[in-house]
Symmetry: C2
Subunit: 122 residues, 2 copies
Amino acid sequence: MWNNLPMSLMELLPVRDVTACCGPLTREAITDENATNLASSLKALADPARLRIISMVAAHEDAEACVCDLTESLGLGQPTVSHHLKILVDAGYLTRSKRGTWAYYTLVPGALDGVARLLVTV
Amino acid sequence: MWNNLPMSLMELLPVRDVTACCGPLTREAITDENATNLASSLKALADPARLRIISMVAAHEDAEACVCDLTESLGLGQPTVSHHLKILVDAGYLTRSKRGTWAYYTLVPGALDGVARLLVTV
DNA sequence: CTCGAACATTGACGGTGATCGATATAAGGA
DNA sequence: TCCTTATATCGATCACCGTCAATGTTCGAG
């Protein structure tokens, strides 16, 4: 490793020409684009209601929950819960499957771990 | 483990009376207070400029950088950079040490890993 | 003690996000 | 077909956030 950058953030770096390994780009640890992408993923997570939703889906039977289950426990209106669910689905943390009138939400395996791995140093 | 909640989110749970382990609280995977705290930590991270700051501090010589170094590379005004630095310091990701006229910022060891560990499932 | 440099703070502006009520859609049952 | 239930979408409101220009503060140099 040619600097002391955390390994995980290193993985966000595009493959670069070795001849450019010592230029002023060395202090450019992460690209602006990658920073924007990671920030988007974290922003989807950075809300108390959405963290509780993820946690409640995981804790629910069969790791799956419908909107009515969540609305009850969250103390939020149904449109608000649907709003948060859409954000989590768009960000890739949850999947939605409709059965009859109900919509069931499930954790995407490895999605949380993927973001976590980007933050771990060493 | 009495449910399939991700281990890490489990650690956020306060020690609770076993007699209450099977009530309706079972579906309450994470407390509102803990969700708020974790959301605050994530919100401090969920910004492209702040992610780049953290990355640049880590990549910098001696894992330490002053404001002028960052302002240069970020393309942001000096007040804006100071603003972001304050948020990162308040959230516990960076420490500030003033030497002469300069202010040097350093990563807090384990801070990022602590948040990452809370997100990892299993 | 004054001057300039590095950084922090303040105030203001524009944009975004969380929430709700109202409404739309879709599916099942009478 | 009509009605009810579950969910999604829309529009509006209010608070918060990122950014900057201007100003304040704290050093070291002379």
